[in-house]
């Protein structure tokens, strides 16, 4: 099974001796090349869901299939390698390295001597409107610019699956639309599977499907 398939996933956290259930027997399928938007109130487990799909976190029970591989059976180091190879992540808090420039942050996830990827890094940043900011270190960029760098970094390796957590939260409406158009165009062109968590109705409406999550 390519794309994403979550089979009866349960996830809970332990805090101060109490068990907090986040998901209970959740099943979800995202076919290859489709773009799913996840919406729901805060605390409903949207970010946890992305963490599970990306292999950042592991489920208490159930199977997580991504790109035909069962992440639930993988040890952490394998999940890390898998993420590097197949998954493009856009985080709410960007996760850029503060000592690197915009271009270097994007280059960071490129593998070895792949000149195509390196060229692509530049092109993506230019498309994101950061052509004049390529050599600015992270601290010299605004929140919106940092978000765009994070998106470029997620796209540069042409991953099989893109997971985005509030990708336009820091952008104004016009920039958000522009960026989403770039992302969606790329996702459709290359038939990438994509899951986007967003509160923004406009972003959600651009996706192929919308799923709502609620608190347990």
């Amino acid at each position: 099974m390519e794309g994403v398939l979550l089979e009866r996933i349960s996830k809970s956290y332990h805090k101060d001796g109490q068990v907090i259930d986040i998901m209970d027997q959740v099943t979800l399928q995202v076919p290859v090349g489709t773009h799913l938007a996840i919406q729901g109130p805060s605390g409903s487990g949207k970010t946890t869901l992305l963490n599970l799909i990306s292999g950042l976190d592991s489920a208490d029970s159930g199977n997580i299939w991504v790109c035909g591989q069962n992440l639930s059976l993988m040890p952490e180091y394998e999940r890390t390698a898998f993420r590097n190879k197949h998954v493009g992540l856009v985080f709410q808090d960007y996760c850029l390295l503060p000592g690197l420039t915009a271009l270097e942050n994007v280059k960071l996830v490129c593998s070895g001597d792949n000149q195509v990827e390196l060229e692509r890094a530049k092109i993506l940043l230019v498309e994101m409107g950061l052509g004049s900011r390529l050599n600015f270190v992270t601290s010299q960029l605004s929140g919106g610019e940092q978000q765009r760098v994070a998106i470029a970094r997620a796209l540069v390796k042409q991953p099989s699956i893109i997971l985005a957590d509030e990708p336009t939260a820091q952008l104004d409406r016009r920039s958000a639309e522009l960026i989403m158009d770039v992302i969606i165009q790329m996702q459709r062109q290359e038939q990438v599977t994509m899951v986007t968590v967003t509160h923004d109705e406009n972003v959600a409406n651009k996706c192929d499907h919308i799923n709502y999550m609620d608190r347990l």
Binding site: S54, L56, T80, A81, F82, R83, N84, K85, V87, L89, F91, C95, L96, L97, P98, G99, L100, E104, K107, L108, V109, C110, S111, G112, D113, V137, R153
Partner: protein
């Protein structure tokens, strides 16, 4: 709680820095003490005047004491050894400079003998020894004589006779090499010095002149300790700065919250500064207690006295320095916090405090309290240290930027390292400077202790001269030609002269006084004449015949050139000749060598002695002894003994320096630890980001520290070579890069990297 943790850490760093500074300040005190005892102070008197001939001036009669020194051979049973002989009058020693085992008074026909020499030759009290033509009874052993330990005579152990026996020894004639010393109390010092300066026949002893080349090494060692002390003080400043900046970062958020809640500036300041001041005072207290405890244990072990008054003074100065450092830092940090907008502070962001302001403040405190040099050269010394720092900083900066540039061309792992190098650039530069200074001194000490004279000796041909014969008169030089071992020896006439002017300008005013302190300008030097150019001299420019032939090195060091007219005072006569040729001398050949060579007709009218250097193998040494027995006025210098003594002297200096360096290493270690602690949070955030991206950051910290250590190693080797040239070109060693020393440093670096690996594994991967 976090605030508390950082305060505890700041307190501990303060305690350690206080401890370090206190212990460190003892070294210059010890060095100064050594200098006072052995070289500079001449405890035998406050003013000492020396003359190669008996001083006939009226001032000679007002001397508190008088002595005559020369080198001679001592015979006891079948043993024959070169010693220095000092003839003392009844008033000697003026200030207890001579320490005896039994305190016997010296009478005519009696001698004291150095205890170590007596032990080596198995001489007992009451035994008879022969010196020149006189047989003397040994009446006491000399434990130490402060005034001579660092003089050339110290390299051959000594014997002390009565000045009443002067004529009876038969060890000198008109051509003999010996010196008359006149000792004066402080009350007469200034007038005597003026008289001596006007007289021209005598001169007031200058310690540097007395110590000669070794004195210069000693002076440089002293300067080095001074420089290191300043360097370590700056390292201590950096450690305090880094430690308190951690507290400062925590305080920034607290300040933001308090401001948001409407607390006044005064209340905020009091709330934040109070606990810091408390931990600072605690730190200073703990540091002082620990420092004084360790100091007294060390003093007990080394049998060195250091009064409670001195210890109190040391403790007061140390705490004052640390407090001034800390107050300077806290003020600049507090100002930067007050300047930051509240919203930034609430996001735990604060304007960076000004490194340079803190740096200048620390430098000023250091310069004021820790002058490691002689009075009057403090500012010059500080300027030198600052210049050295700037040069090292610039070199570090260039190499650092080069490293960053190379990494920016790299791929994933390179970029991870680049991220850290960019983020912690200033911190790392501070660390690198400390590390480079530390490694340079370590490598330098390794070189000096393991190579120096030994290496030089191993480079010499097997038939290099092993003896110098000094003080021969003309008849000796002729008569000795009959000995086979002397027949081919080149004998040089020697006339003593003092350079008094260059191009009619007195040496004190020449080149605006730039070279006034040079030893050649402040002592009598040996002048000679050549019938033909010796093999270890090479004429590189000009003509030998009609003027002075100068040695190339001394010309460079004194800024002289062909055509300059030099004026010498020889036996009261003033003679002036231009420099007409330049010679390159192979000093390392151990042959007799001279700075200035005159045409023979110039030196003809003056009384002269003769000097030669020669190689005599063991089987022929008995012939030499017979000659010296028959001619006791000839001095023989055993170069092997001289070199062993010089090596021992170097060992004393390097041991002292090593002590300082060990503490310096501790300072660097503290800085490194604080830096890593400072970096933990941002490293953890970066680590988290990399993990989320699936990027493998394994070994990146090792690569990061390997790059830093690589930079430090490169600069260390460069600085080390410079130091060796700077310090040892005066005794003309041929230096090569010591690979063992470098291997030692690489080992040290590997150890550091292993520690970093352990640290990153333990704290960052959690």
């Amino acid at each position: 709680m976090i605030q508390l943790v950082h305060l505890i850490q700041a307190r501990n760093t303060t305690a350690f820095c206080t401890f370090l500074l206190l212990i460190l300040s003892v070294f210059p005190a010890v060095l100064l003490d050594v200098q006072k005892q052995y070289a500079n102070a001449w405890l035998a008197a406050d003013t000492v005047v020396v003359s190669t001939n008996k001083w006939t001036h009226e001032a000679a009669r007002s001397a508190k004491s008088m002595s005559f020194k020369t080198a001679t051979m001592l015979a006891y049973q079948d043993q024959f050894i070169l010693t220095h002989l000092q003839l003392l009058d009844h008033q000697y020693p003026v200030k207890g400079a001579l320490k005896l085992t039994y305190g016997e008074t010296l009478k005519a026909g009696q001698v004291y003998i150095d205890r170590s020499l007596a032990e080596r030759m198995s001489i007992e009290i009451g035994d008879q020894v022969e010196i020149g033509y006189l047989t003397c009874e040994v009446v006491d052993f000399v434990v130490s004589q402060d005034e001579q330990v660092f003089s050339v005579e110290a390299f051959s152990e000594g014997v002390y006779g009565s000045i009443d026996d002067l004529e009876r020894f038969g060890i000198f004639n008109n051509a003999s090499r010996g010196s008359w010393y006149y000792y004066y109390d402080a009350s007469e010092g200034i007038s005597i010095e003026e008289t001596a300066q006007k007289d021209g026949q005598v001169r007031v002893i200058d310690s540097n002149e007395r110590l000669g080349r070794l004195g210069r090494i000693y002076q440089q060692a002293q300067d080095t300790v001074g420089s290191l002390q300043i360097a370590i003080s700056l390292i201590i400043g950096a450690a305090l700065y880094l430690s308190y900046s951690l507290v400062h970062q925590r305080n920034a958020y607290l300040s933001g919250v308090l401001t948001a809640l409407g607390f006044s500036f005064k209340k905020r300041t009091i709330l934040m500064i109070q606990p810091i001041i408390f931990s600072l005072l605690q730190g200073v207290f703990f540091g002082l207690v620990l420092g004084l405890l360790v100091l007294n244990i060390l003093l007990k072990m080394s049998d060195v006295s250091f009064s409670w008054g001195n210890q109190f003074e040391l403790a007061s100065t140390t705490s004052l320095i640390i407090l001034l450092y800390a107050v300077a830092l806290l003020c600049t940090q507090h100002v930067s916090m007050q300047r930051s907008p509240v919203l930034s502070l609430l996001k735990k962001k604060c304007f960076k405090d000004n490194y340079w302001v803190s740096g200048v403040l620390i430098l000023t405190v250091t310069a004021y309290f820790i002058p490691g040099w002689e009075q009057g050269t403090v500012w010059l010394g500080l300027l030198s240290v600052t210049t050295v720092f700037l040069i090292i900083y610039l070199s570090v900066h260039v190499l650092y930027k080069l490293g960053v540039w190379l990494l920016s061309k790299g791929r994933q792992r390179g970029l991870i390292v680049l991220n850290a190098l960019r983020q912690f650039e200033q911190d790392y530069k501070v660390l690198l400077i400390g590390l480079i200074l530390l490694q340079s001194v370590l490598l330098f000490l390794w070189h000096v202790n393991t190579q120096t004279l030994n290496q030089w000796r191993s480079q010499l041909p097997s038939d290099s001269p092993n003896y110098f014969l000094i003080g021969m008169d003309q008849s000796d030089a002729v008569d000795m030609q009959k000995y086979e071992w002397f027949a081919d020896t080149v004998v040089y006439p020697v006339v003593k002269g003092r350079m008094v002017a260059v191009n009619s300008e007195s040496v004190a005013e020449y080149a605006d006084g730039l070279y006034a302190g040079h030893e050649v300008f402040n002592r009598q030097i040996n002048l000679t004449t050549f019938t033909q150019l010796p093999s270890h001299n090479q004429l590189i420019e000009g003509d030998l015949d009609n003027g002075i032939s100068a040695e190339q090195g001394i010309m460079d060091r004194l800024g002289l050139k062909i055509g300059d007219v030099l004026t010498f005072d020889i036996m009261g006569a003033s003679i002036s000749y231009p420099i007409t040729s330049v010679r390159q001398v192979k000093w390392q050949s151990l042959q007799a060598s001279f700075y200035f060579v005159f045409p023979s007709f110039v030196l003809e009218p003056y009384p002269k002695t003769y000097m030669s250097s020669l190689y005599i193998d063991k089987s022929r040494q008995s012939g030499l002894i017979d000659v010296l027995k028959a001619r006791p006025h000839i001095s023989l210098i055993d170069l092997a003994a001289y070199l062993v003594a010089a090596q021992n002297l170097l060992h004393i200096f390097t041991s002292l320096l090593l002590g300082v360096v060990i503490f310096m290493g501790q300072g660097c270690f503290v800085i490194a630890v604080i830096l890593l602690i400072r970096q933990v949070e941002s490293r953890k955030i970066d680590e988290q980001s990399l993990k989320r991206l699936g990027v493998n950051s394994k070994y990146s910290m090792l690569i990061e520290f390997s790059s830093l250590l690589g930079i430090s190693l490169l600069l260390t080797i460069g600085i080390n070579q410079f130091l060796l040239l700077r310090y040892f070109n005066i005794i003309f060693f041929q230096w090569t890069l010591d690979l063992w020393g470098v291997a030692l440093l690489v080992g040290f670096d590997v150890l550091v990297i292993a520690m970093v690996a352990w640290y990153s594994n333990k704290y960052l991967k959690d």
